[in-house]
């Protein structure tokens, strides 16, 4: 119950102001198609440098929470999901809006997002300290395998091709070795003066997530948005509250599915929303109404994608293994303040950890309140031409990267990595495992070197890294995640071949 002692910290004027700014800004950014939650959080990191770690994390956490919920606005009013997590929301949400029930859909969406989100954060509150204590048992070999696990699990589960996902992770880990070696001081892979200090995580994050989206917007050319915001008529809020409380099955399924999926590293909100929608449909006696503007579908999808947010931070805050790409960016935000997740965070910086977690709890309520009032404005912003959005994001990326160390080298690194990532993504490579490799690479290397030293003085490298129950469990999870993904990929190929044959 330590979180209660730090609850007051959230109500300090600056913290509260940042929570408001992060929530409102996140709702608007989330509603804007093409601006993903991950990119929004990455672009916000430079603004946290001059803030205290807890305050910086409040801003990033609020933006994370509300971008996911804000994506529902454009999904409902424009039929364009603001983020992949809102794909399932379009199925019933937009149909409701077309039927003149847009206000009701928005109210149901924000209310169910808040319920799912609050449950998810409560899970984060109660699971995190337990797992953080368990993390005390981890030595260098376990931490090495955990870092490898973080990269492989996202590389295999979050990518369309297992090999290309793992390859992306390798590229990230290699990029992390560029610069001077910590122990010997030797130069490694410095082929340009901009790289002499290594690759700074923040410009790399900005480049890898923002520039591909800028280029994707350019790729659409001079086309008008062609979308019209469906006008929203007034709807009494109490009726929406009554409807949400009546649909406990959909709410329960959405919240449970989102929470479980959030705990599994690498499985994103998109899957949470779709699985919850599908399960809710299966268990509903009114399954014929799904897809025709039924509130259950909307409630299940939205409660799931927000319930995922809290649990996705559990592996991050305890074991340094981010549960989602956005959580990986948050890890970068923690590391630039010199804070390492796990026992260091909860033992040495409990005020940072708990203020951040508490702010996420309060953020869920604020997101619901503001969401209901600024949905119309957010939908208008979502209509801003892509040309303006692309230019704004490019400008923010350049200024944000430069501001990290007042270095043009960082801007060059940001642009180079971003342009490279755009082309790699077109051929099946993924940004998330690359980022994970870049962030977890130094952790893996430090523990590998430390472990090798211990191993040389004691039992030998093989038995040190491959012996012991915990090492074996971690290796088994690494192998299982790869095997599962390969199996899934083969299944999909099998289905495709069968369909091709039938044609």
């Amino acid at each position: 119950m330590e979180f209660i002692y730090h609850f007051g910290d959230v109500f300090q004027p600056l913290s509260l102001a940042l929570l408001f700014v992060g929530t409102i800004g996140g709702l608007i950014l989330g509603a804007t198609p093409g601006l993903s939650p991950t990119m929004a959080v990455a672009l916000l990191i430079p603004f946290t440098f001059r803030l205290e770690p807890a305050q910086g994390l409040i801003l990033l956490g609020a933006a994370y929470t509300s971008t996911v919920a804000g994506g529902a606005v454009s999904a409902i009013l424009l039929k364009i999901p603001g983020a992949p997590a809102n794909i399932a929301t379009t199925l019933d949400g937009h149909t409701m809006a077309k039927q003149g029930r847009g206000a009701e859909a928005l109210q149901l969406s924000f209310l169910s997002s808040a319920v799912g989100g609050i449950f998810g954060v409560l899970l984060l509150i109660f699971l995190t300290p337990v797992l953080a204590k368990w993390a005390l048992a981890f030595g260098p070999s376990h931490l090495f395998w955990l870092a490898i696990l973080g990269v492989t699990i996202i590389g295999s589960l979050d990518s369309s091709s297992v090999v290309k996902g793992l390859l992306s992770g390798c590229i990230g880990m290699w990029l992390a070795t560029i610069g001077f070696d910590d122990i010997m001081g030797a130069q490694r892979f410095i082929f340009h003066s901009s790289l002499s200090g290594g690759i700074n995580i923040i410009p790399a994050l900005i480049g890898l997530f923002a520039i591909p989206q800028v280029l994707t917007m350019f790729a659409k050319g001079r086309i008008p948005s062609g979308t019209e915001v469906i006008k929203v008529q007034k709807h009494p809020l109490r009726k929406a509250v009554k409807e949400v409380s009546r649909r406990t099955r959909a709410l329960g399924i959405g919240t449970a599915v989102g929470s479980i999926i959030g705990l599994i590293p690498g499985v994103g909100g998109q899957i949470a929303g779709l699985v919850a929608y599908d399960q809710s449909k299966k268990f509903s006696p009114e399954r014929d109404k799904f897809g025709k503007g039924h509130s259950e579908g909307l409630i299940a999808a939205e409660s799931a994608n927000n319930a995922m947010v809290g649990p996705s931070l559990v592996p991050l805050l305890t074991l340094s293994v981010p549960g989602s790409p956005t959580a990986a960016v948050l890890l970068g935000g923690l590391l630039i303040h010199g804070i390492f997740p796990g026992t260091d965070l909860f033992d040495n910086h409990p005020e940072v950890a708990w203020t951040f977690i508490n702010s996420m709890l309060l953020g869920q309520i604020l997101m619901c309140v503001f969401g209901l009032y600024i949905a119309g404005l957010a939908a208008k912003v979502a209509q801003v031409p892509q040309s303006v959005m692309a230019a704004v994001v490019l400008g923010l990326a350049v200024f944000g990267s430069y501001s990290v160390q007042n270095s043009m080298g960082d801007v060059y690194v940001m642009a180079t990595l971003g342009i490279m990532m755009f082309f790699l993504e077109r051929f099946g490579f993924a940004a998330a495992p690359l980022v994970l490799g870049l962030i977890l690479g130094p952790i893996a290397e430090a523990n590998f070197i430390q472990g090798s030293m211990i191993a040389n003085a004691t039992s030998g490298s093989f038995s040190y890294f491959f012996g012991g129950t915990l090492n074996l469990v971690l290796i088994a999870i690494v192998l299982a995640s790869i095997a599962y993904s390969v199996w899934m990929e083969l299944q999909n190929r099998h289905v495709t071949t069968k369909e091709d044959a039938m044609q």
Partner: protein, 152 residues
Amino acid sequence: MTKLQHIVPSGIVAGVALWVTWVSFTQQPAEAFLFPRLIASVFAVLALWTFGKAVLGKSRVGAGLSIEMMRNIAPGLIVMVIYVFWAAKGLGFYTASAIAFFILLSVYDPAPNGEARTWIRRAIITIGFVAVMYGLFALVLNVFTPKELLFN
């Protein structure tokens, strides 16, 4: 997507992987390259696997690039490269940003180019953007950008 489209990127990645492996195993001191050697070995195997699949025509993942897409991206990409790698330092951040922003709007904005109103709107948006950037980065965050033509 053509076979060649898979071969080119996977070939580049395989080339990088082989270079990383070669450097990792030949550079000294060996202790500094212990971890890179581990990574490079896996990197090379996966990259060669991907390249082999592309050469055999078994690569299927990815949307690829169409000529139309490249035609759309090209002007923006050129402006971006000039802006980032030369203009931001050469002309100064705010001047370069204003020019790049205005050019990007002019190239990609679907509004008709023949109307004066369109150009006035683009100019106003550009001025607004640069003003917000200046307020945020120069005044709030105290970021000292390279010397420039219009702002100091």
